[in-house]
């Protein structure tokens, strides 16, 4: 992964939808970067003021499904509750992912992300940790 930071995300070219590469030294950090990357793609900005938390417990069926479910939860909360999150405490206990999202009501959403797809989705283990390309339907 060259000179890149140990965890991060970058948008890749895709004709119609949006594709993002995400990497991190471990799975919790990979998920955190995926969430921050999706926030960036969607152009989320949060209202200042009182912070809110949301807890998510996800049984881990497979890593890719966990990633899709994790990001889909954030899209659902943005659309239905108008909530965005910028801080993530994520841990894996056995076969359960436990995530605490911390955020606030959304002030702005610039891009409507319809869904997180499984298209060519594969979380790969590399010497530096994990890397995955995610395609979003927009």
């Amino acid at each position: 992964m060259g000179e890149r930071k140990s965890a991060g995300f970058v948008e890749l070219a895709h004709t119609a939808d949006v594709e993002m590469q995400v990497w991190g030294p471990d799975l919790p950090q990979l998920l955190e970067q995926a969430a921050l990357g999706m926030n960036s793609l969607a152009g989320f900005s949060l209202k200042p003021g009182r912070r809110q938390t949301h807890k998510l417990d996800l049984p881990i069926v497979d890593l890719e499904t966990t990633l899709v479910s994790f990001l889909s939860e954030l899209l659902y909360l943005a659309e239905v509750e108008n909530l965005g999150f910028d801080t993530f405490n994520i841990e894996i206990k056995g076969d359960i992912l436990i995530a605490i999202f911390i955020g606030a009501p959304l002030e702005l959403q610039r891009v409507h992300i319809k869904a997180v797809t499984y298209h060519n989705l594969e979380i790969k283990q590399v010497p530096e940790g994990f890397v995955v390309n995610v395609v979003f339907d927009v």
Partner: protein, 483 residues
């Protein structure tokens, strides 16, 4: 990467990737395109995705790809695949997240020249009455019980609520209602998203346009539709909103397990599928049809509010400000249809992802006035360019499962479009061409710049040249409303 040398040229407008190209292909891929349109997609993954689609279980004939094809996820956009009913598979990713995204065209007796000075007011009124943009809620708030009724009745729900006429329903694909919707197969999450979004446009490439009929190519067909050169028309493009997105999300996830259960091997996890006669496949069909009916009702309510906007601006200024329905078609849908494949009548589920139905003359489901001419096919161009009204042909029934293209087709990523085009400059340029723009976001406008799309005229010349559609009329925009 598949290149043009891997394709067999059948004629100027038709190419094939033979079944022998890859060992896991069940059927060949048939592509309707000119050499130029194939060059436009070189470098993207459309053809690989088409080959992947040709590996699904239970395909009854070739996977067909339309000239507006481009890279998507799972299936390419522009793909049509027919799987045998009931033991073939249904694939949610082969229909798309925006279930029954589609296009509606309304016509009028309003001469553009007589209302030219009011087009800005019309654009503003439509923009105010048809909520658009990310996360927008509509004027109508449904109860859970009403949402279930809407899922079962589609445009019929809108008729009962006073948002539709009987003629609107007759001039909608399937009468605006797919039989077999099962709202009980829809998750609470999807329902939560659907409660407040009926009558909303959304964002991305969804739009409402006010157009002028620029040129009529087929007078008989145009007359049947009520399209006259110089008159205004309205084009509405949107789908099932968060309701459909959530249903597809839910079932793509659930089918990940179904694939293992039924021992299927997939080229891409987005192609997950289940046999239609399995509990999973049957549940998805019931939920997908609910979303399809939601989308029909959504476009119907938007049409109602567009009519209100026309009344608000033009009442007393022109003798007749009514907008009559010409047709409403889906371009992300899975439907049970009977087609003749290799000389045999076969009941199939036709997956159309970024492709429209295009049934030829005589089809029983058409209103009487359209039976002699064939089903109207609506092909929106990119923003600021022409859109087309076509009709299906007998050849489309024989060669493309009664299907045709759905638009111009993207060829440039959104991020590149934003780098090359400034939204405010684009708006100024379009307004200088006489096109009023109402857009919620200048960045969103830049993403939809005309240069990000293929030439819609070439796409149309291809389907006409291939014989799967006939030209009826070309319309050009005078106002564009976007989220």
């Amino acid at each position: 990467m598949i290149s043009i040398k891997d394709l067999t040229k059948i004629n100027q407008f038709e190419w094939e990737i033979p079944k022998s190209f890859r060992q896991d292909m069940q059927v060949p891929v048939r592509i309707f395109a000119t050499r130029q349109l194939l060059d436009d997609i070189s470098g993207d993954k459309s053809l690989e995705q088409a080959v992947n689609s040709a590996t699904l279980s239970g395909l009854a004939g070739p996977v067909v790809v339309m000239p507006d094809m481009h890279q998507g996820y799972g299936f390419p956009i522009g793909a049509v695949a027919a799987t045998r009913y009931p033991d073939g598979v249904v694939s949610p990713g082969g229909i798309g997240y925006d279930i029954n995204c589609g296009v509606r065209l309304l016509g009028s007796q309003i001469e553009y020249e007589s209302v030219r000075q009011h087009i800005g007011d019309l654009a503003t009124a439509i923009n105010q009455s048809c909520p658009s943009g990310v996360g927008t809620k509509g004027h109508i708030r449904l109860s859970g019980k009403e949402l279930d009724q809407l899922c079962r009745q589609g445009s019929g729900w809108a008729l009962k609520r006073g948002y539709a006429t009987q003629s609107d329903l007759q001039r909608t694909e399937e009468g605006g209602c797919l039989e077999g919707a099962q709202p009980e197969k829809v998750s609470q999450r999807a329902k939560q998203r659907g409660l407040s979004q009926i009558g909303t446009l959304g964002a991305g490439n969804h739009f409402i346009e006010v157009d002028v009929v620029d040129h009529v190519f087929d007078r008989e067909a145009a007359q049947a539709m009520g399209l006259q050169e110089g008159n205004l028309a309205v084009l509405i493009h949107c789908g099932s909103r968060g309701f459909g997105h959530q249903i597809c999300t839910d079932y793509v996830k659930e089918f990940q397990l179904a694939v293992k259960r039924y021992g299927m091997k997939l080229a891409d996890r987005e192609l997950v599928c289940a046999p239609m006669d399995s509990p999973e496949g049957s549940a998805y069909l019931g939920a997908m049809r609910s979303a399809a009916n939601y989308a029909f009702a959504n476009r119907q309510v938007l049409a109602h509010f567009a009519r209100k906007a026309f009344e608000q601006v033009l009442a007393g200024k022109v003798p007749n400000w009514h907008l009559h329905q010409i047709y409403d078609i889906a371009h992300n849908m899975g439907k049970l249809e009977t087609h003749t494949i290799n000389g045999e009548k076969v009941r199939v589920c036709v997956h159309r992802k970024g492709a429209t139905r295009a049934f030829g003359p005589g089809f029983e489901g058409l209103p009487a006035e359209y039976k002699p001419i064939g089903q109207p096919v609506l092909v929106p161009g990119s923003m600021g360019t022409a859109s087309w009204v076509l009709v299906g042909t007998q050849e489309s029934m024989e060669r493309s499962y009664g299907s045709c293209c759905h638009g111009a087709g993207r060829m440039m990523s959104r991020s590149k479009a934003k780098k090359l085009v400034r939204g405010d400059e684009l708006r100024n340029k379009l307004e200088a061409q006489g096109i009023q723009i109402r857009a919620g976001s200048m960045a969103g406008l830049a993403e939809e710049a005309p240069q990000a799309y293929k030439d819609v005229d070439e796409v149309v010349e291809t389907v006409v040249g291939a014989g799967i559609a006939r030209k009826v009329a070309k319309i050009v925009p005078v106002a564009v409303i976007k989220g």
